[in-house]
Symmetry: C2
């Protein structure tokens, strides 16, 4: 079932999330929602304490029905990872096991590479009370430890899934890290800016703003700097022209309903 | 109240989290827990629907009492950001406003720089139902949009705070992105490995494993490759010596309680 759309394919083949002995249905639902936020759809549950299906999980999933409905139940973590090639385990505690430990960011990049090679990847999360048992951690090739405030590092289960799903998505996302959203229009050209600057400075000359002539060049530079820093759009330059026009206008007659000046 | 410890100082001066009209106490608590996970302590609440203090928030905070107890109430978002220098606003929806939009990662780097310059930073989060109103977004210098599955991009409030608190912490954290945790001991030296290889190959010679002599060099390379890939610790090399010793030993006599072979 390989789609022609590469994006869709990547979503279908993203890592499987395995929750081992989760307790609260709410947390399973929060995990499902976080998974789908990050484009992950395959959820496996090992001995959920309150049984399955669980109406509280469905409510907390807030529309991530796809994940909840396709969740699969397993009796042991070993069975839940049986068809996978590369298993990651999240753990806050130090374990007396010799395994590579990665940050979520590095692990997500590793998962992307594994999926691109055609490998099946899974991430184990332990239950709310005490995390993964040592025997479950032993199933993993790689441990993931989230760098956090050392004095308060215990993550909510849903939050832990959110961080991994978030990093998985970021590792395959090309959104520019910063852009200017121009609601209407586009960034003004330098010619449009220069035209406005001359208009403003002409108006200020006409009203005697630059009364100390030798200070005029520096003041002009400072005023231009204010508007340049604002990275104006063409539409905003039009608005500023309108403001200059309005301020230059002769005072209009008071009308009823006007705020007193 | 500036501590001498730079790490402690950075935590004290991290961004203020402003929740505007949050609805569920649970979500305020989840947000507080996520904040403290990321080393953030200053929470401000604008018109929380269910009043304040809220016992459900305290329960969900799961020990982040420091954050809950010091939370401050405000009547408007404008008042809540009045003493700040740089305000970020999280928003999933497109707004018809001309403002820079950053990813959480880029925004976190920007926040670290602002804090290092001595500026006070805040992050606005909207309520569960509809996010921030346009007038609240207008208070912000910079918008933050989290790149997520475009078909399911609505974040739980606690999850949104978690992502920002997580990125804030990562932006100031120096954890190596990958390391091998050697529970006991250290990585073996090449001399220790070579010593084990000679021991193993000697044992295999003694037991006739390399019966096709011309294949011996390639087989030796392949076997060495298995153990090299495992990146053994000194302790594990000792264990492997013990395994070779045990396998070479003459079969011991059956004892009661032994599993039949």
């Amino acid at each position: 079932m390989v789609g022609s759309d590469a994006g869709r394919k990547a979503i279908l083949e993203g890592p499987t999330v395995v929750l081992v002995e989760p307790q609260l249905g709410d947390n399973i639902g929060f995990a499902a929602r976080a998974m789908l936020n990050g484009g992950l759809t395959e959820l496996r549950l090992v001995r959920p304490r309150d049984g399955w299906p669980n109406p509280r999980a469905e409510a907390a999933a807030a529309g991530a029905d796809l994940v909840i409905e396709n969740a699969r139940l397993f009796a042991t973590a070993e069975e839940a990872v049986a068809d996978l090639n590369h298993v990651f385990a999240t753990t806050a505690r130090r374990r007396d096991m010799v395994k590579p430990v990665m940050t979520p960011r590095r692990a997500a990049a590793e998962m992307r590479r594994a999926v691109a090679r055609g490998e099946r990847v899974g991430i184990l999360f332990g239950g709310e009370r005490s995390g993964l048992a040592n025997d479950d951690v032993a199933l993993a090739d790689t441990l993931i430890r989230v760098p956090l405030n050392p004095e308060f590092s215990s993550l909510n289960l849903g939050h832990a899934v959110m961080i991994l799903a978030y990093e998985w998505f970021q590792a395959g996302d090309a959104t520019p890290d910063e852009r200017l959203v121009a609601g209407r229009g586009r960034l003004a050209t330098k010619a449009e800016l220069a035209n406005f600057f001359r208009r403003l400075e002409g108006a200020l000359d006409a009203r005697g703003f630059f009364h100390v002539r030798e200070k005029r060049p520096a003041m002009v530079r400072n005023i231009r700097s204010i508007f340049q820093r604002a990275r104006l759009t063409d539409h905003e330059v039009g608005t500023l022209h309108g403001i200059v026009t309005a301020l230059m206008r002769a005072p209009r007659a008071r009308r009823d309903g006007d705020t007193p000046e």
